[in-house]
Amino acid sequence: MEETRIGVFVCRCGTNIGGFLDVPALVDYVKGLPFVVFSQENMYTCSETGLTEIKSAIVEKRLNRVVVASCTPRTHEPLFRSVCKEAGLNPYLFEFVNIRDQCSWVHMQEPEAATEKAKDLIRMGVARAKLLEPQEEIEVGVIPSALVIGGGIAGMTCALSLGDRGFEVILVEREKELGGHLKNLHKLFPIQEDASKLIERKRMDIAKNRNIEVLTSAKVEGINGFFGNFDGTVKQKGKDIPFKAGVIIVATGAEEFKPIGMYGYDGVKVVTQLELERILSEDRLSVKNIVMIQCVGARNEERNYCSKVCCMTALKNAMRILEENPESQIFILYRDMQTYGTFNEDFYRKAREKGVIFVKYSLQKPPVVNKRLVRVFDEFLGEELHLPYDLIVLSTPMIAHPDSDELAKMLKVPIDEYGFFLEAHVKLKPLDFATDGVYLCGSAHWPSTVSESIAQAYGAASRASIPLSRRHVITEPIIAAVDEEKCIGCGLCEIICPFKSIRIEESPNGRIANTIVASCKGCGVCGAACPQKAITMNHFTDEQMLAEVVALTTER
C-alpha cells in the first residue's frame, strides 16, 4: 500500500484567523502529527497564490491527502476539491477543517484557548484525512422530458419554457381546465390587465406547442425512480396513464383561506377578496361603503406567516372600485402594509391620493363587526372608530393545498409546518429541492404574486433544462455501500430509508441489501441503524468518525 503523505495548509484569512489564532504555532504543531509530511501557512489559501501552492505541494511533496484549515466547507470545499483534482489528486482525499467560522470568529476574546481548540480540530481533521478514500463520481443518464405538476400560471409558464426548448413536457392539472388560481382573479396588479387575457394567451401557446401534452382533470398517483429516470402514473377519469420523465417540476399553487366563523363571514355581506373579484368581474357591485380587513387568519398564532399578496390585492380591488364608482368610501384596516417593489409602492401612494383611508389596528385589538358598524381601535389616533358599511371584504392568506403532504411524500421532498414546499437552500438553491431533479415554482413554495410565479417558473424551467440538455448527471458519491459478506438481508435499512433507495434483493449469496446509487442521498440513516454494521457510508464511514473522536480524546 502507498504510504500516507498528508499536507496541511493553515489559512490566516488576512486577520480573520491570523488576528486571533497563533497561526505559526498551529503550523508548527501540525508538523508533529502522524503522516503529516508538509505544512505551511497562507495569507489567503483560496487566493491564486494559495491554490498554486497547494498544487505544487501535491506534486513536489507527493502529497496524497490535503487538509486545509480555514473558513468553512460550506463555501470553499468545492474550490479546494477542484484544485486537488487539477493536481491529479482525487477530490475526496481532501479534508476541510473549520477554524474561522466556528473558531476564530466565535472566540475573539480568548486567543489562547481558541488556538488550543484549533489544534484539536486540525488533529481530528488529519486523523480523518488518513482514512479518506478516493471516490468516483457517478454518472446517470437522463430521459429528456419533464413532468410539470400543476397547470396554473407557474406550471403553464414553466411547461411552455421547457417545451420551447424542445423538451417533451407532460402538464398535469387537477381541474377541468388550465389556469389555476388565475381563473378566480379579475384584474392583475399593478397594471390592471384582465387575468382572463393572460390565461387565454398561455392556453393558446400551449395548444400550439407540440412538445406539451396536457392532462386535465388528472392527478399524479404514484412516482417511482430517481433523478433522470422518474416514472409513475397519472390518473385521469379513472384511467391510469403511465409517464416517464427525467425531471419533475412542482407548481401546484395554493388556495385561499376561507374565514369561516370570523368577522361574520357569510359570503354575501362579508366576503373574501377572491369573492369580491368575482363580484367585480360580473359587474354586480352596487354598494358605497366598503371596509376591508387585512391579515384575517394570518400572522396569528395558528398561521404565523404573512401571505404577502393580500395587501396588494386589497389595493388593486379598492382602486378598481373607485374607478367604477368614485363616490365609494373605502377603508382598509391593516396591521402592516406589504407593498414592496417600485410599482407597488406607487400603487399604494395612488390609493391614498384617491381617497382610500388606511387604519392601523393591532393583533391585540382586532376590529369588531356588528350588524351595521365595524368598530376598530386606530393605533395612530389612539381612539376607536365606528365605520358604517355595506360590504366587508376580508383579506385572507393563501394556504397550502391540503394534499401537498401527499405529493411531498410521493416525491420525497420536505414541506414546512404550514404545508408549503421547502426548497433546498434559501439562497443557493431557491428553485431546487434537496431531492435532485425535482424543482419548484409558484405559490406551492410560498404565497407569490403572478409576476413572482412567472419569474420562478422561468427559473425552474431553466434549472430543469440543465440536466435535460446534458442528457446525463453527475451525482455525489457520498452514498451507502453494502458489505455483502456482513449483510444478512434483515431489511431494516429498506424499511427506514427516507428515499426508498436501499432494497433487499435476491442474489446468488441469498437476500442482500442493495443501494440504488442514483437515488441514495447519503444521509446515513441506514448506516447508523444496521445491526450488522454492514453498511459503509462513503466519505463518512464509522472508522473515519471514530478516528476523529479518538484523535480528540488523545492529547498530543
Binding site: V106, P498, C523, G524, V525, M545
Partner: protein, 258 residues
C-alpha cells in the same frame, strides 16, 4: 481555562451539514461568542449519528455530547432528524438507567438562520456540563467504563436496533395491521430490550477472561444473583456461555470463544 473551578469540560458536537452546521457558521459570521470547549464533527445528517459512537465518546472521556439537527419537518433528508430523535431520546433515558446524568447528551434543533440560538445552546450546554462536573462524579471510573462498554454492546444488538429504528414507523404509521402502537407500551418493550441486552453484556464482560460463580458475577456486574442466573440459563442455551468447572457445589461460568 476560563472555568472557575478548573474543570474545563470536553464537549463534542455532531452537527448536520444542512442546518445546524450552517447555523454554527452563521454564529461565526455574526460574531456571536461562545465558550471554546466545543469540538465539532460534521455529518451530512443527524440521522447518521450512531448511538454507539456517542457512547464511545463518553467511554473515551468526553464530558458532554451535543447532537444538533434540522428542525422537525425541515430535514434535508425528510426523516433523518426523527431517527436521530428516537435514538438519542432512548439513549438519554438509558444513560439515566445506568447512572449517567442524561443531561450529558443534548439533542436539539438549529436551523441555518439561527446563529444566535446556536451560540446560546453551546453556552448553556457548556455551563450545564461545568456545573454537573466530570464523568467520575456520576459513578466511579472503573464502574463507569464497565457500564458504558456494556451499553455500547447493548445498542449494537439486533433486537434493540430494530426497536429503536422502527419506533417512528410503528407509532406514526402503524404496524402491518395498520394499528398504531401506543408510546408507553412501546417504551416498555424497548427499554426492557435494551436493559436485557445491557445486563447480558455486563455478564459477558465479567466472565470474558476468567470463570466466575453466579455470586461473583453478580458482585462485579452490579446485578442481583437472580438476574444473573436468569440470563446465564438463556445464554447457555444460546451457546454464549458455558460451565467450565464446578467449584464444590458452585458452577463456574465462562464466556464461549468466538
Amino acid at each position: 481555562m476560563s472555568q472557575q473551578d478548573g474543570f474545563d469540560p470536553k464537549i463534542l458536537g455532531f452537527l448536520c451539514n444542512w442546518c445546524s452546521y450552517a447555523g454554527a457558521d452563521l454564529a461565526g459570521v455574526s460574531r456571536f461568542q461562545y465558550p471554546t470547549n466545543l469540538r465539532v464533527i460534521r455529518v451530512m445528517c443527524s440521522g447518521r449519528v450512531d448511538p454507539t459512537l456517542v457512547l464511545e465518546a463518553f467511554i473515551r472521556g468526553i464530558d458532554g455530547v451535543m447532537v444538533l439537527g434540522c428542525h422537525p419537518g425541515e430535514c434535508h433528508y425528510i426523516l433523518g432528524n426523527y431517527y436521530a430523535e428516537g435514538r438519542m431520546k432512548t439513549l438519554q433515558r438509558f444513560l439515566e438507567i445506568i447512572g449517567v446524568k442524561p443531561e450529558r447528551l443534548l439533542l436539539d434543533w438549529v436551523s441555518a438562520s439561527e446563529g444566535e440560538r446556536f451560540a446560546n445552546l453551546v453556552s448553556d450546554f457548556t455551563k450545564k456540563i461545568v456545573k454537573i462536573g466530570t464523568l467520575s462524579t456520576d459513578i466511579s471510573k472503573d464502574e463507569f467504563q464497565k457500564r458504558l462498554l456494556a451499553a455500547k454492546e447493548a445498542f449494537s444488538q439486533h433486537r434493540t436496533r430494530w426497536l429503536i429504528n422502527r419506533e417512528r414507523e410503528l407509532l406514526v404509521e402503524g404496524n402491518v395491521f395498520g394499528e398504531r402502537v401506543d408510546q408507553d407500551d412501546f417504551n416498555k418493550i424497548k427499554f426492557e430490550s435494551v436493559v436485557k441486552d445491557y445486563e447480558k453484556n455486563r455478564i459477558l464482560f465479567a466472565i470474558r477472561d476468567k470463570a466466575l460463580s453466579v455470586t461473583e458475577i453478580a458482585q462485579t456486574s452490579t446485578l442481583t444473583p437472580q438476574e444473573v442466573l436468569r440470563h446465564l440459563i438463556i445464554m447457555e442455551q444460546n451457546g454464549l456461555v458455558t460451565v467450565s468447572e464446578i467449584d464444590g457445589v458452585k458452577p463456574m461460568y465462562k464466556k464461549m470463544r468466538g
